[in-house]
């Protein structure tokens, strides 16, 4: 049995605004095992990026606050929510690395690539500048950049978007972190480059056995790389399970909606792409029942009144939906939601 590298328990994060508190993350719990790739999916504003950045403690406080009772246990020994800033500096970069969405803006425009990669190495491994640069050049080779020696002296604007994202990956990997968090690493890239970056991440994962959390709204990316999937909606996890469980046996109407909104080639019905009508709730005042109830075609009275909690589907699969209650009526799932039912 694999050991967990990260255990998140009842994580709640809010942002203080002049008009009140935006509850961006409202009680998220999950576990990530060593060497595993976990995908967090959901539409924009569902709290997936906030969750990721909270794990690295990158959200500025204030305005963001981690609520009392939240716990993020890393590598069985670091309680992230309790670490001091200087302790956190040793976790960041050394044990966790992060890749951001937009490679055009996430590199410092006035610093050479080499300096940006070696910076973290020099800080954590206390090596000389030359040595750090050599290591940086190895890293560039690892992420598939040709002429790594020359690239070290170049500035970000001299590289293409895909190359810059490779550099970002090199920065994140600089100190062999145990956990890599990729926050929408492909969203800002061209489709062909997206595939290359995902391939690269998968290769690296195999070579280094790093655990990866990948945040995305692209189910194609999820299918390519993830072993487990966490579906988030309005600051909560609505469904989680292994890839197959989520893709072939989804239980939550929101997951059905997500899956139906993906275009596919093998679709035998000539149905048009389906979108989920409506918009997510305002997190200034989240609804007291299920947050998805207002948009859910199967909503029952109970949904708007009481929060469903998690229903177990299997040991590894759970869903926060009242439809799984024994008293709930059987609803016929939209056929496409079952994924490739005959495949």
């Amino acid at each position: 049995m694999a050991k967990p590298i990260l255990e998140v328990n009842d994580l709640r994060v809010s942002f203080k605004m002049y008009a009140g508190e935006v509850q961006a993350v409202r009680g998220v719990s999950f576990t990530l095992n060593k060497g595993e790739v976990l995908a967090i999916v959901g539409e924009s504003g569902c709290g997936k990026s906030v969750t990721a950045q909270t794990i690295m403690r990158l959200n500025p406080t204030p305005p963001s606050i981690i609520k009392e009772g939240s716990s993020i246990l890393f590598d069985g020994k670091h309680e992230i929510t309790k670490l001091t800033n200087s302790q956190m500096e040793h976790v960041r970069g050394e044990e966790m690395g992060m890749i951001f969405q937009d490679p055009m803006t996430s590199l410092n425009p006035t610093m050479t690539i080499g300096a940006q990669i070696s910076e973290g190495i020099r800080k954590h491994q206390k090596v000389k500048k030359v040595e750090a640069l050599l290591r940086a050049s190895d890293l560039l080779a690892l992420v598939g950049i040709s002429n790594p020696h020359e690239r070290l002296h170049q500035y970000p604007h001299e590289l293409s978007g895909g190359m810059r994202q490779r550099v970002m990956i090199a920065i994140a990997l600089a100190c062999n972190p145990k956990l890599l968090i990729a926050d929408e690493p492909t969203t800002a890239l061209d489709v062909t480059i997206q595939a290359q970056i995902i391939d690269l991440l998968r290769d690296i994962q195999k070579k280094t056995e790093t655990s990866i959390i990948i945040i995305t709204h692209d189910l194609g990316v999820v299918a390519e790389i993830a072993q487990r999937v966490l579906v988030m909606y309005a600051g909560r996890v609505v469904e989680q399970g292994y890839l197959d469980e989520i893709f072939y046996n989804p239980q939550h109407p929101y997951t059905w909606g997500l899956l139906r909104s993906v275009p596919r080639l093998d679709s035998d019905t000539k149905s048009a792409l389906v979108s989920i009508p409506g918009t997510p709730p305002d997190l200034f005042a989240p609804p007291k029942g299920c947050a998805f109830a207002a948009r859910c075609p199967y909503a029952m009275k109970v949904c708007t009144e009481i929060d469903p909690g998690h229903f177990r589907v299997s040991d590894t699969h759970s869903s926060a939906c009242w439809l799984l209650h024994e008293d709930a009526p059987n609803v016929e799932r939209p056929i496409e939601a079952g994924g490739r039912t005959h495949g």
């Binding site: 409506g278 305002d282 200034f284 109830a293 207002a294 199967y298 909503a299 029952m300 009275k301 708007t304």
Partner: protein, 304 residues
């Protein structure tokens, strides 16, 4: 899990207001005004300015003295009930002269703002709206004017034209509007490329409609903010010119002139320096506070 009655599992009636917006919608200007009101420093600036303007208008009217009558037996009087701010080297009442100075300063500030509004906005707007070759030529001209040191040229201009309010305003008009023109052009160019303008154009809106409904309201905030900075700049401009000796023609007094005269006798008559200095700094401070507040209030990027 506690028992939940079975009827709760009936389908919920769909309410009509599923997508009702929870927060009340506010227009851009309401929102800006609300934010400005919350900014205490900016409101203080606004109130001080209103009070100062009131005094500048009424104080000289309700005083038994005027700004030019010299009473040579009453030179260098200290502040008293007869002369609230004392008198100067020619026995003129400083209270009245100071408020006259505020009048002139504010007048010059407003005149400069008007010039900026007309010349700067038109120049920038035309340059951005037509674009291409027109924009190119207009920009080159602007770059050259921008590089000319305004203050120096103004001194030269007034030396040769003779001092006075109109000379000062003309001197300002030569190149004071350049910053405004640059700002307006930049903002217009940015807006021109944006989706909502493109959308309006696709829907067949006429240019006049695009300018009035889409471009102007979005540039207006920027223009207002810039104007609140133009006023103190022009006031400073006048005071500076008066201080180096090319400002207002005596016996008329501007704040710059009063400060300059006060500085010469400050050792023995500090009150002649102090009062104009305080009022002058207060005007500049208030305008800057108001300008900062307006900028924060009108900047849509800050909208939350």
């Amino acid at each position: 899990m506690e028992a939940i009655s079975k009827e709760k599992f009936q389908p919920a009636e769909k309410t009509a207001n599923v997508e009702a917006i929870v927060r009340p919608s506010v227009t851009y200007w309401q929102d800006a005004w609300r934010r400005l009101k919350k900014n205490r420093m900016a409101m203080a600036g606004l109130i001080v300015l209103i009070i100062l303007a009131g005094f500048a208008i009424f104080a000289p009217m309700f005083s038994s003295h005027d700004y030019k009558t010299q009473v040579l037996k009453d030179t260098f009087l200290k502040p008293s009930s007869a002369h609230w701010f004392g008198t100067d080297q020619l026995g003129r009442d400083l209270w009245v002269r100071v408020w006259w100075g505020v009048r002139i300063s504010l007048f010059i500030g407003l005149a400069a703002a008007a010039i900026d509004l007309v010349v700067g906005v038109l120049y920038g707007g035309i340059s951005a709206y037509f674009g291409g070759r027109v924009d190119d030529i207009m920009q080159r001209i602007l770059e050259i004017i921008y590089a000319i040191p305004l203050l120096l040229l103004a001194i030269l201009f007034i030396v040769f034209m003779g001092p006075g309010i109109s000379s000062i305003i003309i001197a300002y008009a030569i190149s004071g509007w350049v910053t405004m023109a640059r700002l307006v052009r930049g903002q217009m160019l940015l807006l021109k490329e944006q989706e909502f303008v493109l959308a309006a154009r696709t829907l067949g809106a006429r240019p006049a409609r695009i300018i009035l409904r889409h471009l102007v309201p979005n540039v207006l905030g920027l223009i207002i903010v810039q104007l609140t900075y133009v006023v103190p700049t022009a006031i400073f401009f006048e005071a500076f010119l008066s201080f180096v000796g090319v400002g207002i023609r005596p016996p008329m007094a501007s704040l710059g002139k009063l400060i300059s005269e006060g500085a010469q006798v400050m050792r023995y008559q500090p009150h002649l320096l102090l009062y104009p200095t305080i009022l002058f700094s207060l005007i500049l401070l208030s305008f800057n506070l108001l300008g900062d507040g307006l900028r924060d209030a009108l900047d849509p990027k800050m909208r939350k």
